[in-house]
């Protein structure tokens, strides 16, 4: 029996889909059997980021409505044998499936996969309720901006009221230098407000944009800083004792990586 993890944030554009794609791929890199589920019906993106758009035949709504079998809708990744994607429909909207339908699909997927990564749409409406319906755990993505932190806080409150406690936090698009100057919200500050465990800090990295546009998840590149951050997150999800980055250690890691770049 696998585990279903929903990647959510409340606010749009903070990197839910990017995080889903990269965590999913990084877990596959670790040899896990992973299925990514895009629940952003009507605005699907995960297939684009994964470079699998042209392979879609059936989608989540087709499965929910019984037009095809679950296995028919799942797309095998080009890079990994044990990485699959269940795409969202692009022509319908969020109300075309119910939380119970999604829950049934997730339960089914959990039988075959080690991890089911659910990409949640932005917002707190039906789409959000669908996405969290089958999840065992939640990862909340935020960026060091007030608005994103505010929305993350709201989402954590909603998750807790849905009995999804123990959500983990990813702080995305961190710029170490801006943080040092106090121009960006501090990691400590964010953790203090949100009061949940940090599972990773992902630096702002141009490579992420490049990778997303080429349909190749960032984690495939062994040198990108964001890639290393996502790989660490995946290892923590699996339960490896990668020391959870405290801010100081984090800076240490950054400088190490910088040095690595300097040398390379």
């Amino acid at each position: 029996m696998g585990e279903a993890i929903v990647i959510t944030s409340g606010k749009g554009g903070v990197g839910k889909t990017t995080s889903s794609a990269n965590i999913g791929t990084a877990l596959a890199l670790l040899g896990k059997k992973v299925c990514m589920v895009d629940t952003d019906i009507g605005l699907r993106n995960l297939d684009v980021v994964m470079g699998l758009e042209n392979r879609i035949i059936y989608d989540l709504v087709d499965v929910a409505e019984g037009r095809c079998r679950l296995s028919q809708a799942m797309i095998k990744d080009k890079r990994f044998d044990e990485l699959y994607l269940l795409p969202a429909a692009q022509t319908k909207d969020k109300d075309s499936v119910t939380p119970d339908q999604i829950k049934d699909i997730i339960v089914e997927l959990k039988k075959d996969f080690d991890y089911v990564i659910i990409d949640c749409p932005a917002g707190i409406e039906q789409g959000f309720r669908n996405a969290i319906a089958g999840a065992d755990r939640a990862i909340v993505v935020t960026t060091p901006e007030n608005a994103a932190v505010r929305d993350a806080d709201r989402i954590i409150g909603l998750l807790e009221s849905q009995k999804l406690r123990g959500a983990k936090l990813i702080i995305n698009r961190v710029r170490a230098n801006m943080m040092k100057n106090g121009d960006m919200l501090d990691i400590d500050e964010i953790c203090q407000i949100l009061a949940i465990d940090l599972i990773g800090v992902v630096p702002d990295d141009e490579h992420v944009i490049k990778a997303a546009n080429s349909g190749e998840p960032t984690v495939m590149s062994p040198t990108s800083r964001a890639s290393i951050a996502y790989r660490n997150i995946a290892r923590r999800i699996v339960g490896d004792a990668v020391p959870l980055m405290a801010l100081d250690e984090n800076k240490g890691a950054f400088t190490k990586i910088k040095k690595f770049f300097g040398l390379g």
């Binding site: 929305d151 806080d153 709201r154 954590i156 409150g157 407000i193």
Partner: protein
């Protein structure tokens, strides 16, 4: 057989019977023992003509529902007439709920609202976007980063105290204030807000006894 502690002791007096109910055990076990005594062990003694019964609760304070369940059990035996149910404690008239302190261990997150009629003590933070309202005082053992409204029914004596005072907005009765325009505070630790001449004022918590000596009096 080891001596089982009797939770219900029955004494005979001139006027009838006195039921002494143990005040240290769980209420449910007490009811069980009472039921047991009435229907099984003491059935013989208790049957017969009508008997007046006094019930002594010791130091236990019971609710109306609990009282009713005792009455129900005893009423099952038609010949027992309850004359009184007494407790050693002077049951003060169920104290005014607005004088009761409600304690909450939680984080009030963005979009969440907590309201209480009376004093409220939060063990945790009130995050930006979170709202806490009360007809009386608000005490926060944690950070106040959201909105707090004390004395929402117009009580201008209400205060808002917080370990870390960085609210998005403070309201007491009808006065709305937002930091830091009229407060002029530098630190934000251990402070409380109160109204003075319809102005929101902020002061150190150590001074609370001077400004609102009655604020912390609880029944």
């Amino acid at each position: 057989m080891a001596a089982i502690k009797h939770l219900v002791t029955i004494k005979g007096v001139k006027e009838g019977l006195i039921f002494l109910l143990d005040d240290t055990c769980k209420f449910d076990s007490l009811l069980n023992d009472l039921r047991n005594k009435l229907t099984k062990t003491h059935q013989n003694i208790l049957s017969g003509p009508e008997i007046q019964v006094q019930i002594r609760l010791g130091k236990r304070i019971i609710s109306e529902n609990q009282k009713q369940s005792i009455i129900d059990i005893i009423a099952k035996r038609g010949n027992l007439i309850i004359r009184s149910i007494e407790s050693d404690v002077n049951i003060v008239q169920e104290s005014d709920p607005t004088k009761q302190l409600r304690m909450l261990k939680t984080i009030i997150r963005s979009g969440q609202t907590i309201h209480h009629d009376g004093d409220i003590l939060i063990l945790g933070d009130v995050n930006p976007g979170g709202t806490i309202t009360s007809t009386h005082n608000i005490y926060i053992l944690g950070s106040l980063r959201g909105m707090a409204h004390a004395g929402i029914d117009g009580n201008e004596q209400a205060i808002i105290a917080s370990s870390y005072m960085k609210p998005t907005q403070l309201r007491i009765a009808g006065i709305i204030s937002r930091p830091p325009d009229e407060w002029g505070i530098e630190e934000a630790f251990m402070e409380f807000a109160y109204l003075s001449d319809n102005q929101m004022k902020i002061d150190k918590i150590v001074n609370i006894h001077r400004v609102r000596p009655e604020a912390l009096e609880l029944n």
